[in-house]
């Protein structure tokens, strides 16, 4: 047999094999992300069902608050890590068209958690300090990465805070509305407790100071 034909056949076999492996790896990555996002949406759904139950069938507000705060504590919100992971995984995958949908559903779930936390505060009184971190998705923002590292450490130190991260240049409309509400013009930007806005890279001790003032219980 012609050696070139032989080589061509071998190449095709090898390439097909390689692509199957790539597909497998890409799918494993996607499944991993989907699992985390699935937990988020599931917890958010159970919150809605619990609210419905107490509004329609049982008007016991003290039990409702207990349930809500339990669920809220259970809710999986990772700082910016899941979003970063998604971005990295998208870069690293060959078959990556599912990521846009996945990203949108993640941010919408995160927004839901953020907005519902205000409702929780209204119903049951304030029990934690929300911190919103705006970063850039499209531009290469090095300072955002640094700020993310700092915030990840703060999250470990403080008991009573919750950090939400959103890309200010996202195509999701509600994020744009939110960033307009807080007058975010540059990244990185931090909004603490719905009112205190900090522009630019912030040092950990500065943030902790403000958080302690608003009841973040940081060490």
């Amino acid at each position: 047999m012609n050696p070139f034909l032989k080589a061509a056949i071998l190449t095709i076999i090898v390439i097909v094999f390689a692509f199957l492996m790539i597909m497998q790896l890409d799918n494993m990555r996607l499944d991993y992300l989907k699992k985390d996002i699935g937990i988020m949406t599931y917890t958010e759904q159970s919150r809605e069902v619990i609210l419905d139950y107490y509004y329609i069938m049982d008007n016991n507000s003290s039990k409702l608050c207990e349930h809500l705060s339990n669920l809220h504590k259970k809710q999986f919100v990772s700082v910016y890590s899941l979003a970063t992971k998604m971005q990295e995984y998208q870069k690293k995958s060959v078959f990556n068209y599912e990521y846009e949908v996945l990203k949108n559903s993640y941010f919408l779930s995160l927004l839901k958690v953020y907005i519902h936390s205000f409702e929780n505060n209204k119903l049951c009184g304030k029990n934690e300090v929300p911190l919103v971190f705006f970063y850039s998705e499209t531009t290469n923002c090095q300072l955002c990465k640094v700020q993310n590292d700092i915030l990840s450490n703060i999250a470990k130190k403080c008991k009573n805070i919750r950090i939400y991260a959103f890309p200010s240049d996202s195509s999701i409309e509600i994020i744009t509305i939110l960033s307009k509400k807080y007058n975010v013009s540059s990244v990185p930007s931090i909004v603490i407790d719905d009112k205190e806005k900090l522009d630019g890279l912030q040092r950990a001790d500065m943030i902790i100071e403000i958080l302690n003032k608003t009841g973040g219980q940081c060490s």
């Binding site: 050696p3 070139f4 032989k6 080589a7 061509a8 071998l10 190449t11 090898v14 390439i15 390689a18 692509f19 492996m21 790539i22 790896l25 890409d26 494993m28 990555r29 991993y32 890590s81 992971k85 990295e88 995984y89 870069k91 690293k92 995958s93 060959v94 290469n140 090095q142 300072l143 990465k145 640094v146 590292d149 700092i150 990840s152 450490n153 890279l201 040092r203 950990a204 001790d205």
Partner: protein, 463 residues
């Protein structure tokens, strides 16, 4: 050609006369500037396209190309194993052999070279001719005392090819061994290699296994691996399908009849060893390889001399491509014209192209990484905070999987190279092999590009 005109030592040269029909070739290289410009434009457009389309697609295309070529070599290697084991031990009348050593200011190496040439084991007639190319370092005067060699003197320095032609014209041996003055053949080189000429076909040359002398630094160690891969694995493989395009300068054995038919070395060529091989291919003379015949050669030890050497090779390569352009994609020359030549050119082209791509990416990631680390350190110092390190199993780039396959095949070639060279892989080979993977492609690309630009600007040739 008048032998007598060169007065010194001619008394011992009475028998040697200029051969009838032997002419020195000084073939001019056609100036095909337009073609060079087209090549450069092609490269530029490829780079432009590379920036537009996703790097993943680019990488996959490149890797598929590489895997195919590797597969061809792999198939050839596995298919032609009977060629490599072939022995031509039964020889009745050993042909006469003439070793020609051109020498120009080589006082440091010529004596070691001569010693190993004199030690050559050979049952037939063996003569050693040193052609002094107008040396000025006193090596000629020192060589004069040696009665066992034939010493010829050229008054004017005209380069290696001219010196070789000068020597070839003055011998009437059947086989001519052209040896560089910095190369040392092993004892059994001739006895192993000469039988390959008794093939029954037109054998123009026998290529020997060129090794480097034991390396003293990383540059030489990298070249050592490269020689095992190129002269060992690659030459053996493509010689099995009669497609060898190079008869290495350090030492190759030529058939005198081939010179009589095709003429001598091209004296204006930068890589006359490649030119003669291409000429042999054109006129259907066979080139064999013999890997049991080992020749050690000195290789550049400094980066400057290494670059200089490679630049000369690359320019010579481009020069000869121009000269034998009609052989490209020419079905008349079979596999050689349709596959080996285009692949050889394509590799240089791809190397130059990927050099840009890699350098660009390297630059980008370095800048990004440096900024991040710098800012992190800055933050760390002012707030005494520890840096997060995330280790993630899924952090592998998918395209790397496909790259890993081509790397594995390449690693197998390196293993074959080790086997051919009779060496055992050890820890000291790790860094040179790493160099071959990461730095060598960038280096080759840069050299190819510079050679191209020099050729285009008609920069003067230097040896």
């Amino acid at each position: 050609m008048q032998t007598k005109r060169y007065d010194i030592e001619t008394a011992r040269l009475e028998k040697a006369t200029a051969l009838p029909g032997f002419e020195r070739t000084t073939l001019d290289i056609p100036k095909k500037k337009g073609l060079l410009i087209i090549g450069l434009l092609l490269l530029a457009s490829a780079i432009l396209i590379a920036f537009v389309i996703s790097y993943k697609i680019l990488f996959i295309i490149y890797t598929i190309y590489t895997i195919f070529i590797f597969m061809v070599y792999l198939v050839l290697w596995l298919d032609n194993s009977q060629y490599y084991g072939k022995s031509y031990k039964k020889i009745e009348k050993w042909p006469s052999v003439s070793i020609i050593i051109p020498s120009y200011n080589t006082i440091h190496t010529i004596f070691k070279c001569l010693e190993s040439c004199k030690n050559l084991d050979y049952p037939g007639k063996l003569e050693i001719i040193v052609v002094d190319d107008g040396s000025t370092d006193g090596s000629y005067e020192k060589l004069k005392d040696d009665r066992s060699i034939i010493l010829l003197r050229k008054q004017k320095n005209e380069g290696k090819a001219a010196a070789l032609n000068f020597g070839i014209a003055r011998t009437n041996c059947d086989i001519i061994g052209c040896v560089d003055s910095d190369s040392y053949p092993h004892k059994n080189t001739l006895i192993n290699a000469i039988p390959y000429f008794e093939d029954g076909k037109k054998v123009g040359a026998v290529v020997l296994f060129i090794k480097t002398t034991s390396p003293t630094n990383l540059i030489q160690a990298t070249q050592e691996i490269e020689y095992w891969l190129a002269c060992g694995f690659l030459f053996k493989t493509i010689a099995s399908i009669e497609c060898l395009y190079l008869t290495p300068g350090p030492m190759s054995l030529y058939n005198k009849k081939m010179f009589e038919e095709l003429g001598g070395f091209d004296e204006k060529n930068l890589t006359e060893d490649m030119e003669i091989a291409l000429r042999m291919q054109r006129h259907k003379w066979r080139i064999h390889t013999c890997h049991s015949a080992v020749v050690e050669t000195e290789v550049p030890a400094t980066l400057t001399s290494f670059c200089k050497q490679r630049l000369r090779w690359a320019r010579g390569g481009i020069m000869n491509i121009m000269k034998y352009l009609d052989m490209f994609f020419n079905p008349k020359y079979g596999t050689f014209g349709l596959f080996i030549l285009p692949i050889t050119l394509g590799s240089g082209f791809f190397a130059a192209f990927f050099m840009f791509w890699m350098l660009f990416n390297l630059f980008k990631t370095t800048i990004e990484g440096a900024t991040l680390w710098f800012s992190n350190f800055y933050i760390m110092f002012i707030t005494t905070m520890d840096i997060n390190i995330n280790i993630d199993l899924f952090f592998i780039d998918s395209t790397l999987l496909i790259g890993a396959i081509s790397f594995l095949i390449w690693a197998y070639f390196v293993y074959i190279g080790f086997e051919i060279a009779n060496e055992k892989p050890s820890l000291k080979h790790v860094l040179p092999i790493f160099n071959m993977v990461y730095l060598y492609p960038i280096f080759v690309g840069l050299i190819f590009l510079f050679a191209y630009i020099y050729e285009l600007s008609e920069k003067e040739y230097t040896w």
